[in-house]
Amino acid sequence: MSKKPTSLIALIVFWLYVVLPLIWGVSATIKKALALFA
């Protein structure tokens, strides 16, 4: 295993990989939840 530090780009890309689907799911849920206060 290489000893060079983890690159910032790898860190950002990996976080986006998990956060983007979550944001999509959360926004779909919020849209649905708005019906409660319509």
Partner: protein, 463 residues
């Protein structure tokens, strides 16, 4: 091949950023959290033969209900039995097996739907999928605790929040895919199962391939363990089997079980409850929105409460869950009777945040009480409390509701007694939490104890 999965192969070097570990855990938890959204398949699965509407040869909802129940039972069993194995082989192999089980569970279910053989769906999503759920749930927890000794609660909260968020991705994904694949001769479930199984397999595989464990005695740069020792946070370690001989394990089991029983019982009834309490003002679509809102608070609570617990202390956090929770449950009937929808929703949302927080704070509580070395295995065994509560909560709420309706209580008022009983359950949980004290030294791992996970006696021990 076996070396590729070994702990030594995935031990990080000094330059590795620990912030790469939470996304690995999330890659798994966001997939397995789909289980909470399985109900979106219920209606289409009752129309496999009839397509546009259910015909007598189609599966009934009662038959389909067993799929989720089996998955939860096998989640509990695999977490309980697989936890010790996880500590021995490490997180990569466990995540890989979880990915294989969860993905193939979907594929086998697709075959079952295609052949209209329910036992194949039970075996697929129920048994294989359930094993994938259990192993996937526990696999990153102890690794995260070891990478974040300074913020154990926040670290486990991030992963377990993913399990709450998984349903929010899984539900619209499944609905969209079924819409895309449906035709005059198919409801689109088979193709959806195949695609989702493949997507989840790949995503969980990415988690397995990227997970790293810290080197022995690793600590974050610049961090020193607190000089003032907190008696509720041990520096010793208790073996998995030894933990079962302590009263603390059973008290924590009750703490989790009681918190989940109260939450899961009302969560399953939330949609019907709000429609009956606010008859005429809340439509089914608005009630579905209400359930979605609760899922958001459930997910948010998983991250926020466990992060707060790093500052408040685990025991104090559970005191809040039980004391404030009992008060909120008691207030729900008054809000319903007063017709205050906004306050009713707010109370429910807070209750759900604490229900989620109970799940995510428990691994850090276990690490504080039993040490970090075997926390994954101990956590796995404690999850049998979740499986128990998963049965107990809904049964209790349904039984109480039916009993009150039989006594002539109006539908809108039928939940009041239930909410007071749930509050009483939380009071019991408060007492169990209060009884938790540090583990007696006799249970701690001794210097010369054989370490069966490493297969060696620790340095200085007997040969």
């Amino acid at each position: 091949m076996s070396a590729f999965f070994s702990k030594s192969h995935i031990t990080a070097d000094s330059g590795y950023s620990r912030w790469m570990v939470p996304p690995s855990a999330l890659a798994v938890h966001l997939c397995i959290g789909q289980a909470y959204a399985f109900s979106v398949f219920n209606d289409p699965l009752t129309r496999i033969i009839g397509i546009s509407e259910s015909v007598p040869e189609d599966w009934k909802l009662t038959t389909l209900g067993w799929i989720f129940s089996l998955a939860i039972v096998f989640l509990g069993l695999s977490a309980a039995f697989g936890g010790k194995w996880l500590e021995k082989v490490g997180p990569r192999l466990t995540m890989f097996v979880a990915a294989c089980c969860f993905g193939s569970g979907f594929w086998l279910s697709a075959l079952g739907v295609s052949l209209h053989q329910i036992w194949l769906v039970y075996l697929g999503y129920g048994v294989l999928g359930g094993i994938g759920l259990g192993l996937g749930y526990v696999s990153p927890v102890s690794t995260l605790i070891k990478w974040f000794p300074d913020r154990r609660g926040m670290a486990t909260g991030m992963a377990i929040m993913g399990f709450g968020g998984g349903a929010m991705i899984g539900a619209p994904l499944a609905v969209g895919l079924m819409e895309y694949f449906k035709s005059e001769t198919s409801v689109g479930v088979v193709e959806t199962f195949m695609v989702m199984g493949s997507l989840y397999f790949v995503s969980m595989l990415i988690g397995a391939l990227t997970i790293r464990i810290p080197p022995e005695n690793w600590q974050p740069a610049g961090w020193v363990a607190p000089a003032v020792s907190n008696k509720m946070i041990t520096k010793a370690h208790v073996h998995i089997d030894q933990a079962l001989k302590t009263p603390q394990f059973y008290l924590l089991w009750l703490v989790l079980c009681l918190n989940v029983t109260a939450g899961i019982g009302v969560l399953g009834q939330a949609s019907v409850m709000i429609q009956e309490m606010f008859k005429g003002t809340v439509t089914p679509a608005a009630a579905a929105g209400f359930v979605g809102l609760l899922s958001l608070f459930n997910m948010g609570g998983r991250f926020l409460w466990s992060s707060f617990s790093d500052y408040l202390g685990r025991k104090n956090t559970y005191y809040i869950f039980f004391a404030v929770g009992a008060m909120l449950y008691s207030l729900v009937p008054s809000m319903g009777m007063a017709g205050n929808k906004t306050l009713f929703v707010l109370l429910y949302a807070l209750i759900m945040s604490m229900y989620g927080g109970g799940f995510s704070t428990i691994p850090a509580y276990l690490a504080d009480i039993f040490g970090t070395r075997y926390v994954g295995g101990i956590h796995g065994r404690l999850l049998t409390a979740w499986a128990t509560a998963g049965v107990l909560g809904p049964v209790l709420v349904n039984y109480l509701r039916e009993y009150q309706l039989a006594q002539g209580v109006a539908k809108a008022d039928a939940y009041n007694v239930t909410m007071y009983i749930m509050a009483a359950i939380l009071v019991l949980g408060f007492i169990c939490n209060w009884l938790i004290k540090p583990v007696h030294e006799k249970h701690h791992l001794k210097h010369d104890d054989f370490d069966e996970l490493e297969g060696v006696y620790p340095k200085g021990g007997k040969a």
